[in-house]
Assembly symmetry: D2
Homo-oligomer: 358 residues x 4
Amino acid sequence: MNTIKVSIVGSTGYVGAELVHGFSGHPQVEFKYLTSETFKGKKFSDIYPVFRGVVDNTLVSTEEVSYDVIGKESDLVITALPHGVSSKVVPQLLAAGCRVIDHSGDFRYKDLKTYEKSYKLDHPHPELLEQAVYGLPELYREQIKDCSLAANPGCYPTCSIIPLTPFLKAGLIEKEGIIIDATSGVTGAGRKEKLEYSFCELDESFKPYGTVGHRHNTEINEQLSFQAGDGEGKAVKAAFTPHLAPFKRGMLASIYCRPTAAFADVTGEKVLEVLTKYYENEKFVRVLPKGVMPDVKNVNGSNYIDITGVYDEDTGYIKLFSAQDNLGKGAALQAIQTCNVMFGFPEETGLGTLTRGV
Amino acid sequence: MNTIKVSIVGSTGYVGAELVHGFSGHPQVEFKYLTSETFKGKKFSDIYPVFRGVVDNTLVSTEEVSYDVIGKESDLVITALPHGVSSKVVPQLLAAGCRVIDHSGDFRYKDLKTYEKSYKLDHPHPELLEQAVYGLPELYREQIKDCSLAANPGCYPTCSIIPLTPFLKAGLIEKEGIIIDATSGVTGAGRKEKLEYSFCELDESFKPYGTVGHRHNTEINEQLSFQAGDGEGKAVKAAFTPHLAPFKRGMLASIYCRPTAAFADVTGEKVLEVLTKYYENEKFVRVLPKGVMPDVKNVNGSNYIDITGVYDEDTGYIKLFSAQDNLGKGAALQAIQTCNVMFGFPEETGLGTLTRGV
Amino acid sequence: MNTIKVSIVGSTGYVGAELVHGFSGHPQVEFKYLTSETFKGKKFSDIYPVFRGVVDNTLVSTEEVSYDVIGKESDLVITALPHGVSSKVVPQLLAAGCRVIDHSGDFRYKDLKTYEKSYKLDHPHPELLEQAVYGLPELYREQIKDCSLAANPGCYPTCSIIPLTPFLKAGLIEKEGIIIDATSGVTGAGRKEKLEYSFCELDESFKPYGTVGHRHNTEINEQLSFQAGDGEGKAVKAAFTPHLAPFKRGMLASIYCRPTAAFADVTGEKVLEVLTKYYENEKFVRVLPKGVMPDVKNVNGSNYIDITGVYDEDTGYIKLFSAQDNLGKGAALQAIQTCNVMFGFPEETGLGTLTRGV
Amino acid sequence: MNTIKVSIVGSTGYVGAELVHGFSGHPQVEFKYLTSETFKGKKFSDIYPVFRGVVDNTLVSTEEVSYDVIGKESDLVITALPHGVSSKVVPQLLAAGCRVIDHSGDFRYKDLKTYEKSYKLDHPHPELLEQAVYGLPELYREQIKDCSLAANPGCYPTCSIIPLTPFLKAGLIEKEGIIIDATSGVTGAGRKEKLEYSFCELDESFKPYGTVGHRHNTEINEQLSFQAGDGEGKAVKAAFTPHLAPFKRGMLASIYCRPTAAFADVTGEKVLEVLTKYYENEKFVRVLPKGVMPDVKNVNGSNYIDITGVYDEDTGYIKLFSAQDNLGKGAALQAIQTCNVMFGFPEETGLGTLTRGV
């Protein structure tokens, strides 16, 4: 069984740590470097005691071990860095000859202007936008196989795109007026010393945030437009609102859209059928049986996304629902799925066992 | 200072208990009877030890003390009973000469058919539907003053109607296509011995429920239609989806609607202005300053509802947000506000002090 | 009804905010100054939106308004400052002629050495240690009445001293070998931008901390020794271990001690009798009936402390249990009780209504 | 790689489900029967949607498939049944020729009278008490290898016995006066339709229960006595108090004991040394470095138990602390470890990957 060497740049944030967690059980992966600027010299398990005896690798800083060395000694480097940093680091890694999966927003867009407007940054390597593949295996599996750079999707985009794609691709729903109302657990905000994310501020709290112009909105729009057949990425403008809820991991999207004339005979059963048929061969997309609703607790710790849909005939709206782990299918575990596709491993390798039970 | 005698029928459910809690600090109210069929003979504080030394009244059953006696000896009876039960009990109480505030769905509708379809019940006293006043003081203050029967609004309807009314009344938003995506804390499900509401099933859980045809949807539609000027209660059909989140008390609504031509110059500022102006004299409706979002923790334990709105020019949607305590403004404390209006007490009596802090 | 002017120095920490919350409903108190160095110029309700429309006072810094002015214009100043700061500020306030209730550890000890060892600080005004009264009304009511400086007890000490005192005073338990195993909600750690208190680090977490030499241990020892009749404050050395649990407010102590020969006929009933009799006239100490255990949820938001005790005849241990709100009887609301004693108000003024229900 | 057939009797309670979860990733185990009387005919994943696509086995009732058949067709049967039921079922399974790991209290005791007094039941097969092996591999590994019946330890006993054993075995602590103050997450109460375990009753709650005479107390005493060298199981009588805390999984024990004369030179370092040395070859017992405290979040979902100890020289108490997952090392995953020992698999098979991360 062949194995690859994987390094994780920025391994002590929540996404980084979940990457370490996921890969630590992957039979075809061995860690080369786990980097951390803040905690260099410490063991990974000093920062996350949950991993004591499991992952005791020493953290290195990229001052000690350069990106060039990391890239040369690794088959795959996964970057879990802030946007604006990734755009500078990833080209160095690619130049060193490794393949890269990046978690920031820096390589997710095809349209440079949309990126620059959304992130309020100039992009130092716009030529890579074209080359990067959007790392959503269910949609871009073939392109991922041979890519050198995969841009891991945002969490909100993943749980928005998966349920909407089958309908947009088939022209069954209007491109106009889509609403995505979504809720994230607190790990979505990252590992931060901020009062607003303290236990006392968030326990028994629930609120919307980023109600206009959240960055993930433009990423959602571009990808949904592609699925709807618009190569320019402009056809769909969804209204998106994220909320923050008092749980640690998990994300739920409630989506509202309207059937087109081509779907005039829409019923709840037919909505489910469309989803079921489209994803029948996808291991990690679970279309729930009629009457069962997605719940974040049921995907917690896994790479699954649970989806379903209903039709509200009183109002004419199709409602779609999806639940995923924001650090799982929404981030780190999806990257492992993408890694498996990139390196020709069976797609569920290291992901086949559900990681949380009761 | 004159006082009234208040009885609470069904005082040991969560709404009943919050009524007891709220009224226990009301300077112009004394309790006459607190009823419970299940716990008769025990002290109220045996069931809720939090009230030991505060409310130690003995619970009576309505077999011991008839509705007739309760009604005759009370100025006001508040019923916190299941729908289908209230419709039989309330007429007996009214016949005994007291005034009533009812918490069920049985007297909230003007249209009998809508009620019967929504609750799948025949109504034994349809004549009372006309007589009953919808107990939302901000909209029906004048009618409440002299009514003998107030139907306390549902929790989801309250937090939907309050933010939408100023726009519907002024014709500023389309009646079509309104979406209400809302989330409740677990007390909203009542005090029940059900596995689905157990700690282990709901901790770290988040999910939609009642995704098509939830009862509160028709109540919302009828009231919004009235506000939109349709006396028939048919003009507005909102798409409504409730969710259940892992906190005890609180409810948040995220509402999507579109400006009419009359509101062609819509901006976020103007949305806020409409809300601010409409509710400028309302003590319990707090229109938040620009950039501050409603959070259930900030209304927890109080009769406040916090609201705001933004305009998303990319999509043309107005987004409105409201947060209330589902047992507060969404149920028991709103009933106290209504009681104050009915009996001519200053409207904030017993409600003027915020009941939770940090 | 006479009223007093109260200022709160350090009003935006959790203890400060709960003081503001509690006093905002006190009919005989009006706020003079609410200070905050960090948020000066803002409204109190900008920092805590839960208080919008309730407490909108503008925060002042003590650079703008000196301690001398605050002291001169207030009847009572409550300081919610870190230890080591209070010891410098309180003398200035006393010199200005006001009375003071302090929340730090700086005036809680009679023995200077114990303080200095526990807090690793020199005390700039050791002469005030003698003058200060330990602000536990159940034990020091008479001394509190006329004092100018009350040192509000620590949260862990309060819930340790209340249940143990009746037994120590009567010589019914051994002074040796007392164990206090206690658990606090997260507000006990204060309002801090620290990763260790973030939601993601504390949700689904439970752990001991400060397992040897926690500061409150020496405070507990000194007070228990006094109750045991040792004026030197040395007779009792309890083993104390605090834990941190994933709830916002509340504290529970589980205490283990052994009966003396004088209590050879100990039974569970007799343990309860001792507690009941000792506290029969105390409004805020609720001795629970046999078989009912204290629960932090039942004291949340209130000034109550719920206590009980059992006797384990297999091991010969008496077990005592107490629950209080760490910000309530454990801090801010106890200070209001002390204020009422100091100014001759009925002791439950502003505290008579339970502040949380269901 | 040889595999065995495993059946789980009572597979839909929380312990049963965690057994299914754990074994579903075990490379040398295949499921034969998963039984449920309540849910027979449904798929396991209908009851626990988290397992959809992972464990879709159909549940059978023991009316359809007799214990005789289950026992004959399985190499190992794991019973997750109530006490008093196991004592009748296990003998039937053993008679059919399989090996059994039982989760009830029915086979954990050597002393029949202690069992009968603790569980208030007559034992129909007292002869099996002698034959059964206490399924704690760290203490009884050799006996487990060849046993036909292993009694899986209680959760509280496991986290009490592991930290105390090294000291009791070596005579380093007094047998008298040991105190075990422990806290469990809510899954410890089982999957029950009871109001007292509802979300609304337990959120923001913390309380002791079973404060005198909890069943696990006698199990702890018997085992600790054996470790202390008393074959009668009477020498140690610990004072034990369990508490219930608002998290789903996890258990923490805080233990107080006194050094004997043989340990007169006790220090915190030496306490740690004793633990470290005793467990140096144990994969699942992690002795934490000085200053790091056990936290339930760090063992959640795993078979690890994290332990440490300190010495409080002011009081002369040694304090020991342990954290485990009550369903992990405290129940189902410990049974998998025991299964591995029984069948000669490497002990960490199926348990080697940590099952929860961030």
